[in-house]
């Protein structure tokens, strides 16, 4: 059903706001450059206030960038008003028109495009079926559950067959179960229709599950762009590593190097690592170790002392001290091996492929 897939390019985009209290200007988004390929599903992820909504609103045209240019399908769109842009936004608050019924809500955009009645009826009926709302055409918006309203908002955007769909935390008001159902549905519809989608969330599992690409933002700046796997296993910074999942950070020094591999000395112990070809020997570095990538054992890479040992059902949660550094470990299936108690000494064991050097 999609006509032409459209990519989005942000070229050195900045948005300056005035702090209402101090009256000082600050960057809500700073020098952001992105290239979103046509037909892909991209998620903007980051802590509250990092500029996700602002970025989205600039693409939709509600805010004008202070620096840079936005391209949609190759055309610069900075000076276009929202109604002239080939984008459709699904608002966090749904923003359904409360004085219209479901049919009229979905038909609103089509009527503005001066389509004839029969076409509108056909399109609306089809899209409502797609989102599972057939037969509810004549209900008012407040006669729907949150999830149904959400789907109307989605249908209303989809029916326009826009070049780009914009989502601003569209699932944040739903319960956990409905979120999973809805996000699967969003992904399915997006892929079927082949629409470019930009999706804002601060739920990382949502981002992981949906995206072709994830863009992590920190205080208005892009911290990393990559596939979910890249972001998770090869975070570009401590911020990204910490923000996505849980991570331990071990400070050390690249004491020996041999091509891609090397040895990092942590608290006086040698840790073999890979993927350090770009770091010079002798350089201070940080090791990122995911809690589930390591286990406790009687022999391993780093000696430690157990300070918390907690049974969580499907896994055992450990806090251990490696020298002065706290390391968290989640050990699945510990009963196969040995469960350590508080005060025990042990070794933190992991494969060198599971460690990421920053």
């Amino acid at each position: 059903m999609a006509k032409e897939k459209k990519g989005v390019i942000l070229e050195h985009i900045s948005k300056i706001y005035q702090d209402p209290k101090t009256g000082k200007d600050f960057y809500a988004v700073k020098d952001t450059s992105l290239e979103i390929t046509p037909g892909s599903f991209v998620t903007l992820l980051g802590p509250s206030g990092c500029g996700k909504t602002t970025t989205l609103r600039m693409i939709a045209g509600f805010e004008s960038p202070d620096e840079g240019e936005i391209y949609l399908g190759g055309e610069p769109i900075n000076a276009l008003t929202p109604n002239k842009r080939d984008t459709a936004m699904v608002f966090q608050s749904y923003a359904l028109l409360p004085h219209y019924n479901i049919f009229d809500n979905v038909a609103y955009g089509l009527k503005l495009r001066k389509m004839d009645k029969a076409t509108i009826k056909e399109k609306v009926t089809r899209i409502l079926k797609l989102v599972g709302l057939e037969g509810m055409e004549s209900r008012m918006t407040n006669q729907l559950s949150g999830g149904q309203q959400q789907r109307v908002a989605l249908a209303r955007a989809l029916v326009l067959e826009p070049g780009v769909l914009l989502f601003d935390e569209p699932l944040s008001n739903l319960d956990a179960k409905l979120r999973v159902t809805m996000r699967t549905e969003i992904r399915r519809i997006q892929q079927e229709a082949g629409i470019t989608a930009i999706y804002v969330t601060h739920d990382q599992s949502e981002a992981m599950a949906l995206s072709d690409q994830i863009i992590i933002m920190e205080k208005g700046v892009v911290a990393q762009i990559g596939s979910p796997q890249e972001i998770y296993y090869h975070p570009a910074s401590e911020f990204v590593a910490d923000f996505i999942g849980e991570a331990n950070f071990l400070k050390g020094n690249l004491s020996a190097k041999d091509g891609n591999g090397g040895i990092v000395t942590v608290e006086g112990h040698k840790v073999p690592v890979v993927g350090v070809s770009e770091l010079p020997e002798g350089k201070e570095c940080t090791l990122v170790l995911r809690p589930e990538s390591a286990v406790l054992a009687d022999s391993g890479v780093l000696p430690c002392k157990v300070i918390v040992s907690c049974f969580m059902g499907s896994y055992q949660n450990y806090h251990v001290m490696v020298g002065d550094t706290l390391v968290k470990i989640t050990d699945y299936n510990p009963r196969n091996k040995k469960i350590y108690a508080v005060g025990d000494t042990a070794w933190v064991a992991f494969e060198k492929e599971n460690i990421h050097v920053l």
């Binding site: 045209g61 002239k84 459709a88 936004m89 966090q92 004085h99 407040n142």
Partner: protein, 571 residues
Amino acid sequence: MATRQSAALDRKKLLADPIMVTTIVVLITFLTLFILYPLAVLLVDSVYGKETGLTMDIFKRIFAMKSFRTAITNTLKVGFAVGIFSTILGLLFAYVEVYVKVHSKFMGGLFQVVSMLPVVSPPFVLSLSMIMLFGKAGIITRYLLKIYDNSVYGFWGITIVQTLTFFPVCYMMLKGLLKNIDPSLEEAARDMGASRFRVFADVTWPLILPGLGNAFLVTFIESIADFANPMIIGGSYDTLATTIYLQITGAYDKEGAAAMAVVLLAITLAMYLVQKYILEAKTAATLTGKASRARMLIEDKSVTVPLTIVCSLIALFVIMMYICVPFGALFNTWGYDFSLTTKWFVRVFEKYKGFKAFRDSFLLSLASAPITALLSMIISYLVVKRKFKAKGFIEFVSMLAMAVPGTVLGIGYIRGFVNGVFGTGFLSGIYGSAAILIIVFVVRSLPTGTRSGISALRQIDKSIEESAYDMGADSFRVFMTVTLPLIKDSFLSGLVTAFVRSITAISAIILLVTPQFLLITVQINEFAEKGSYGIACAFATILIVITYGSVLLMNLFIKYFGTSRKLKEVD
């Protein structure tokens, strides 16, 4: 830094929307031409003459008049007294409504009537009934108390009548304020052992103090600007508004009247600025957030009984004064012959062109109401939902009209339009025509409409309009298909309020109306001045019926066709 590329882009986006641009240009022209320009003309008039050049002579001349100096002190004295009394009464009513447990439906009804009466009644109704109840031939003074020479005219007459007219405004303002106080603040103090009085003095009082100041100034301004009551019940006690009127209609001294108007305007403007920019901000700052939960009402009989009795008595007194007017139109000779008659009504229609008066008043108000309502909704929309450079100007000027007394505006229009704009003859045609009367009605009702429009629009989630915009609607479509339907109730009540305010208006219009038009309010004023209270009452009664009828009609309409019903019924 590419400084403020966004501002340039926003401007480009705005310019890409011709309807928006046209609307803004038309609005700015309207506001400049019909609010700023007449005021500017007054100022220029009073310091500049063709022969004399720049001069302070006119001000010197009017300040040399003893009558003018007395008028200033009189106005300030009355304003101050009315401000104080209205605030106290308003606070009493608001406190009882919000804090005291009152069981009866009767009380609830009383409160509602009291808060609604000043909206629907013509301004001088209370003056009329005051004279009829307490004057020389007053029922109460003459027949009950056997006082034969009681004078209601003067300071106390004006003060009492204005207080009763304006205290409901304070009541409504303070009610909102008290409702916003978080009860847990007071309960905490009570919990620590403070008496009820101490809680009021230590917690409630400081919280509402800026709000009280606000209420005081609002009534002060209303009192100073009031023309009708001092005109009828002032006697020889002249206020600024009446002095200016007499200066232009009696002494034909246009420059002098202009200078006096400038003085009056300076006073109200200064108060308005204090009220708007200092007190309103303070009120908002002390009372953030909504009350978290319901308040435990005071049930202690030693508190509730006296408060209830006092409030009921005052409310009943006010209602009695309003009821007095229709009776004034039904008695043969007020104060002497209480047999019922329809002769006053007959005379109104047969002798005093009553029908023409009603038709003129009705049609002019009917014409101005939709213009006012639409204009104020457009202004509110622009102010709340859009950003552009001239927005501050539009908001400021349309609210400014609130601080401009009708008399001042009237003089401004006379000076500004008799010979056309800047004496060029441009637009001179509107002077004396229906157009200028309608424009005055619009300008006079604009601030109230805009204010309620703004608060209605603030309730609507910004993203609802954005979503329509995003789906491809231009600003005009968004306004017509989304904004307006969503504030339909507010629009309707704006429509009726504008109609009621226009049909009951007098202060500006009395200066501008030409013999070609007969207006009810002007007729009432004329007959009351002459002492023909029967005729005045008959006119006033029919006016009250019209206004009350339209308000009832509106409420019915909103109840059955309003948006809020449709949207609320399922919740």
